[in-house]
Amino acid sequence: MALTLSPTLSLRKAPSISDEEFRKLRDFIYSKCGIFVDDKRKYLFETRFGPRLNALGAKSFSEYFQILTLSPDKDKELASLFEMVTTNETSLYRDTKQLDGVRASILSKIIKEQRAKGKFELSVWSAGCSSGEEPYTLSILLHEELGPELRKWRIAITGVDLSPAMVAKAKAGVYQEYAFKTTPEDIKKKYFTPVVGGLKVTDSVASLTCFQSMNLNDAAATKRIPKSHLVFCRNVIIYFDEAMKKKVVSSFYDNLLPGGVLILGHSETLHKISAAFKPMMLPGAMAYEKI
């Protein structure tokens, strides 16, 4: 079908980024959060950042870069930049086979050991928690695992994410229907209540969690996370280059208690990144134990 080539019907909508501007911005992002932006994502960059440039009235990426680095509002601008480079949507109860494996082989073991020691404490770090789906899923798993005994336990699930906007969403704990595509119906009924705008986690589920925005590149900040029995970091290190992957994984190592376990995303592996962990084959998942 022929279309009138109206000038408004062009493919380009955003200002274009020169190779040099792209390199500058990419290096800036890398230095701020360790996220490595591949050359292939140059055009995606233009599209993602275009509306922000328009909103700021910046006519070019150079002007935008000045706002990012020199303006009095640069911290606020950095937060919105973080939002644009990490928009990873996820869902509750994602990768149920992995979760089942973790629950059956790891959580139950840690719980047993803690009980034996009379230490009813458990801490979990969810690194790159996006809008809170993972920490709440883990809280629900613990509710299911411990049942009425939960009252005796002190449990802390710390969710951190680079983007303050994501952390705010996580704190709100309200999800739309599509976040539940992998959630069993009974779990959804038991732990969520309808509110305006979606379904909200129950107070009990929320009470085990706390959230903060944090840069995994910031060694001083990651040291402040309480020592953990379990670290979850699923589909986060895919954004990093080799050096940053090593740095982040070593901060997980430092954070884990002896015998603690690191869980990565379904297709991720520590192969080539770290030999400091012992790989464990769970049914439906891999896990890495601190040795």
Partner: protein, 403 residues
């Protein structure tokens, strides 16, 4: 209210004055709706423009362009080729919007539960070489395909030997005949035997087709719940058709069958990934949709390698003819191929079939496009409109020859 040129009419447009032929007959009364056949009919009758309310029409077109642009966000917006693809896809989307189509919401983009899937190999053990070995150790390349390959490479091949070979496989014979009778060839007389097909299409050409079709058979066992196999093959066949048309547009002596089959099999590595890593590869599909990146980029991010790395090992272990393997393995990187000009054909055909699918509501972003390799083909970007038009006349019937 304004005048709209006949060739710019889109289905769904409401005319604001009676549309009359030059001799005064009313073809479509005021308030009537333009249907898909109208532009051609009116043009035939010599009507050059009609009065229509194009205000809504312009809005619709903008909405279609905004929707379509999202799926082009990964590729160079200044590419002349992509500008053509974008216009074409926008046109398709506008047509759909005009007929009341509601674009998918974010929730629909993401709504898919893949939790029933499990990978055959854990992430630690699943590199391209290992998953291909796992496949080739379990199932050998079909005997009939091996013989076809030998036939294709043999200097002694004859109409007699090839006809006999194909005749041993009734399913294959039937498929080849269906293909020979499809608009892909558009022969004046029905082709009733393989022998006749070989005479008309050529010995080497039919051998190539037969090898390609036999290879498809190999993958027929993939359970449909793993992945939407129908969409997969639609895309593959579309790519084949585009590749054939493009190669023909580049002049004679190109062996269009070679490009048809390379297009048909270009994503064969993905089939191995579906078989061996169903969870991981479906997760990559979801990731691609949720994050607006092409599937190939999602594979690289999530799994660590892409389907062309897998096809490389697969086709090598099958000793597949290099004239096909080089095109398949480099369809995302034509520059890396021994002959970038030829690999660019599959690269372009893949992009064009993606554009058609975006227009049809498919939810995957167009991969990066290599304009420099396209330039080697010697076709102007403006010529692609004609390629799309040719495709339209062949697509549906050719695709249905496969199902």
């Amino acid at each position: 209210m304004s005048k709209v040129r006949t060739e710019d009419l889109k289905p769904g447009l409401i005319v604001s004055e009676d549309v009359k032929s030059p001799d005064g007959r009313v073809i479509l009364p005021k308030g009537g709706r333009i249907e898909a056949f109208h532009p051609m009919l009116l043009k035939g009758l010599g009507v050059t423009e009609v009065e229509a309310d194009s205000g809504d029409d312009e809005k619709l077109l903008q909405a279609a362009a905004d929707y379509t642009r999202e799926f082009f966000s990964y590729a160079n917006p200044d590419s002349p080729v992509l500008a053509e693809l974008f216009l074409y896809a926008t046109g398709l989307v506008a047509q759909r919007l005009a007929t009341g189509w509601v674009p998918p919401t974010l929730g629909e983009r993401m709504a898919q539960n893949v939790e029933h899937l499990s990978d055959v190999l854990p992430a630690d053990e699943a590199d391209p070489e290992k998953i291909v070995r796992h496949e080739t150790e379990l199932a050998s390349f079909p005997e009939s395909s091996l013989r076809l390959k030998a036939e294709l490479e043999s200097p002694k091949a004859s109409i007699g030997s090839l006809t006999k070979l194909i005749g041993q496989d009734l399913g294959l014979s039937a498929k080849l005949l269906k293909l020979a009778n499809s608009p892909l060839y558009n022969f004046a007389e029905p082709v009733e035997s393989i022998q006749r097909a070989v005479t008309l299409i050529g010995l080497r050409e039919v051998s190539t087709l037969a090898l390609g079709m036999a290879t498809i058979n190999y993958f027929q066992g993939i359970p449909p719940e793993l992945v939407d196999m129908k969409s997969f093959w639609r895309h593959s066949i579309s790519c084949g058709i585009f590749a054939k048309i493009l190669s023909q547009a580049m002049g004679s002596g190109m062996n269009p069958e070679r490009f048809f089959i390379a297009g048909l099999l270009h994503d064969v590595g993905r089939l191995i990934m579906f078989k061996k890593l169903p969870y991981a590869s479906t997760e990559a599909l979801l990731y691609a949709r949720e994050n607006f990146v092409p599937i190939v980029a999602a594979e690289a991010a999530l799994i660590g390698y892409t389907h062309t790395a897998v096809s490389q090992y697969l086709l090598a272990s099958w000793k597949f003819p290099a004239m096909l393997a080089d095109l398949i393995n480099n369809h995302h990187s034509p520059k890396a191929a021994p002959d970038p000009r030829l690999a660019a054909i599959i690269h372009t055909a893949d992009a064009m079939s993606n554009a058609v699918e975006i227009g049809a509501g498919r939810l995957y972003v167009l991969p990066d496009f290599d304009d420099e390799s396209f330039a080697l083909m010697g076709l102007p970007a403006s010529g692609l409109a004609k390629v799309f038009a040719d495709y339209e006349t062949q697509a549906e019937q050719t695709i249905s020859a496969f199902f």
